[in-house]
Subunit: 154 residues, 2 copies
């Protein structure tokens, strides 16, 4: 690339949860959170409740500035370092978080969701329906992945 | 929200494909594209090739400015209008595209991928491994969804 291209986004809403940041990762599967959208955007949710699952993109605003392109997964000193794009770590050039969540309920500009591993107060930048073309069941993941070890992502 | 929060991203790479924009949607399943990362970021790809599938986030830089929060899916006049967040349309507040792709090959700072429905020259903003916690097979989608109609997303 000739020069890095700058892109500007606007938050569309915000995450609310009572669960403190230190517990978000390990309690991911049971987490219930609320996404409160900018009320002016409520019409853009029309029909979303016809889907069971959503993809939520959020801005990890408390991620420290990136210091290294590679890290040991979960800081585990027995594992070789892997690249930021090979992990779901917050340590990445653009700290965008992505979670596939269950949509429990929509009321006006509020969504109640399960499994959103975002801290309280996190800005949401996009919401998309999760559809059959996002589902691949024959996948390969490395032995150092969280899922291969039976633990939720960090 | 008190006031919209502005967020700044930097492109990490760029998409190359020979397929013209008008054919990208309908040829999605067979599309082979190259993602060329900023060479300085190549170490951040280390280990990515141990995954079979990736999630690619890209910036749909040729999307027209958003004019409406609701649209008829695929412009189909027989369908009621649905919200931007209930569809994968480019017509959304932050035009971020998301595709789950097959990783065919990685060579240095280049990834060869299948099924990336992004135009030639599109900026890439993040790459994440696709893992078991992204896979949900018991999902509900509405009858007006592309997938329910057997067509790829627009």
């Amino acid at each position: 690339m000739d020069s890095p291209q700058r892109i500007e986004l606007t938050a569309i809403g915000i995450v609310s949860t009572d669960v403190p940041p230190a517990q978000i990762g390990r309690r991911r599967r049971e987490l219930i959170s609320t996404i409160t959208l900018d009320p002016a955007l409520a019409p853009a949710l029309t029909g979303l409740e016809e889907y069971s699952h959503l993809i939520v993109l959020f801005w990890m605003d408390r991620a420290p500035a990136m210091t290294s392109l590679m890290q040991r997964p979960r800081g585990d000193s027995t594992l070789p370092a892997k690249g930021a794009f090979a992990m779901r770590t917050r340590n990445r050039p653009n700290p965008i978080g992505l979670a596939v969540v269950d949509l429990i309920e929509r009321v006006d500009n509020r969504l109640l969701v399960r499994r959103l591993d975002a801290y309280d107060g996190t800005p949401v930048i996009d919401i998309k329906p999760y559809d059959h073309y996002d589902v691949f069941t024959e996948i390969r993941v490395p032995s150092w992945s969280n899922s291969a070890r039976g633990t939720p992502p960090a």
